[in-house]
Symmetry: C2
Subunit: 295 residues, 2 copies
């Protein structure tokens, strides 16, 4: 299948970039280095870097120039998982069937490994930009930073944490959490890839609209998967506390309505994609892939 | 006194820059925003931003252009303190006489506040650089990122954490910890200020040498203060676990030899400063100030 082939090509390209970066890090003291690598190599699907590279491809950009950004978004995503799993956050012992970072390296080292990955993302980006200070690259970097920070992903995590034991949290909080915790970085990956390719503002805005919708779609289907259970579920993290109180789409709207919401969202963003007037087969495939993981 | 006056001028300038940044953050959800502000406003001496601005001044640079970097180093320093104080790290209840971040906001929110401050540092820098993408600014940014990361500050924190209950840790570890945990960011502040001012490579290298020495001097005198106790001590953080095992200069070399080491280091870096052939009164004053806080 075409979609799988493209996915494989992008993710292989990303893995090479990631491995190359770590060649420069052999002086990082142990066990910090192992803790950083552990979570990066724990079987993530590389969705964000793949989206970033595919967006760059759509606009005929140089994938090599987009690569440091692709590596950076995965570093940021991974740091957020490590910190999310900590006992003071979601308190997860397992992620994708493997012991979480702090279960292997201890809480202190896991905290530092997360910090190190976040910082590394920016060090890697800045090192690339110093050599290639194009306007597109600078915009790509800023897009990622804004999406990851206190008005983006961390904002979402904080509201998630704060709502966990807050009975008054409802629809508004759920939407905020997902738009920020998951949506922002997914959307920024697409937009950053387009910026790195030198796309124009109009195209960027269409891609941003698509990315926002894709983030929501991801979350609805993820919530449904979590509730329904699936073969994937076996490998998913299982929280000990608070998970019962976590806001999810099926819990708030019921399973059937959640499924309908996912379908509507998919239709909506496929339409946005057609406005782009570019060959965007891979992104089209992504929408169907995400939608159908429920089935 | 001249030194105090300059310190006041630089730190006031920095405070304005910090306040201005936070004006743009009113949409950050509570209690995340309060947690971020709490530690930033907890009475830090602003040593790093002041050094950065003074280094920019030495080379006749535009302080306004250096300001975002000054803000960034303080954001990074503050995040590292919040994470250092967590129960899984140093487990400190107090810092500068006030309850630590996690004592007020809980461990999860404190972790997120640290993450948010680290990310904000880069978002702020990148936003500035997109408007002013000079080579000096890009080098300043990279200098800070390299100093903060897994080959810099976080490396030092990780060895510190790992050595705490490791009886074989000695002189080599102590030097590594201090050079990285404290030294790197202090040195990077000076170098970044010089880069932002457009200083040449030769001048940068001299300042780097000075900065490395100043970092060591800071640490020796800090360790001595910690052991001897002082009026400042009352407001310092007091760890609950592991502190007995912490490597310090006086514990390793004795008090008298540590004092002599501090004096020798001060002499050495004053000499480096004279090679600079620039009016560097403030940095000269800083050396004496740091040396004499033991007395």
């Amino acid at each position: 299948m075409d979609y799988e082939k493209s996915y494989g090509r992008y993710s292989e390209f990303f893995e090479k970039g990631l491995a190359q970066l770590f060649l420069t890090l052999s002086d990082v003291p142990e066990p910090l280095l192992s803790a950083m690598k552990y979570s990066l190599e724990a079987g993530g699907k590389r969705i964000r870097p793949v989206l970033l590279l595919s967006a760059c491809d759509i606009f005929g950009g140089d994938l090599q120039n987009a690569l440091p950004f692709a590596v950076a978004v995965e570093l940021i995503h991974t740091y957020s998982l490590i910190h999310d799993d900590l006992p003071c956050m979601d308190d997860d012992d397992l992620r994708r069937g493997m012991p979480t970072n702090h279960k292997v390296f201890g809480e202190g080292m896991a905290t530092l490994a997360g910090d190190a990955l976040l910082n590394l993302a920016y060090e890697h980006i800045l090192s690339h930009i110093r050599k290639n200070p194009s306007e597109g690259n600078l915009s790509a970097a800023l897009e990622i930073a804004a999406a990851a920070g206190c008005l983006g992903m961390v904002a979402g995590q904080s509201v998630d944490l704060y709502s966990e034991n807050n009975p008054s949290a409802g629809e508004r909080e759920l939407e905020f959490i997902h738009a920020h915790k998951t949506g922002k970085l997914i959307c920024a990956s697409l937009v950053a890839g387009a910026y790195a390719a030198g796309a124009g503002e109009e195209e960027i805005e269409l891609l941003r609209k698509f990315g926002e919708g894709l983030g929501v779609l991801f979350q609805i289907t993820d919530d449904i998967l979590d509730m329904v259970g699936s073969y994937e579920q076996l490998g998913k993290s299982v929280g000990k506390d608070g998970k019962q109180n976590k806001l999810t789409y099926p819990r708030l709207y019921g399973l059937e309505k959640s499924r309908r919401m996912a379908e509507e969202k998919a239709e909506q963003i496929l339409e946005v994609l057609s406005c782009l007037q570019k060959e965007a087969k891979f992104l089209r495939g992504t929408v169907f892939k995400v939608l159908n993981r429920n089935k």
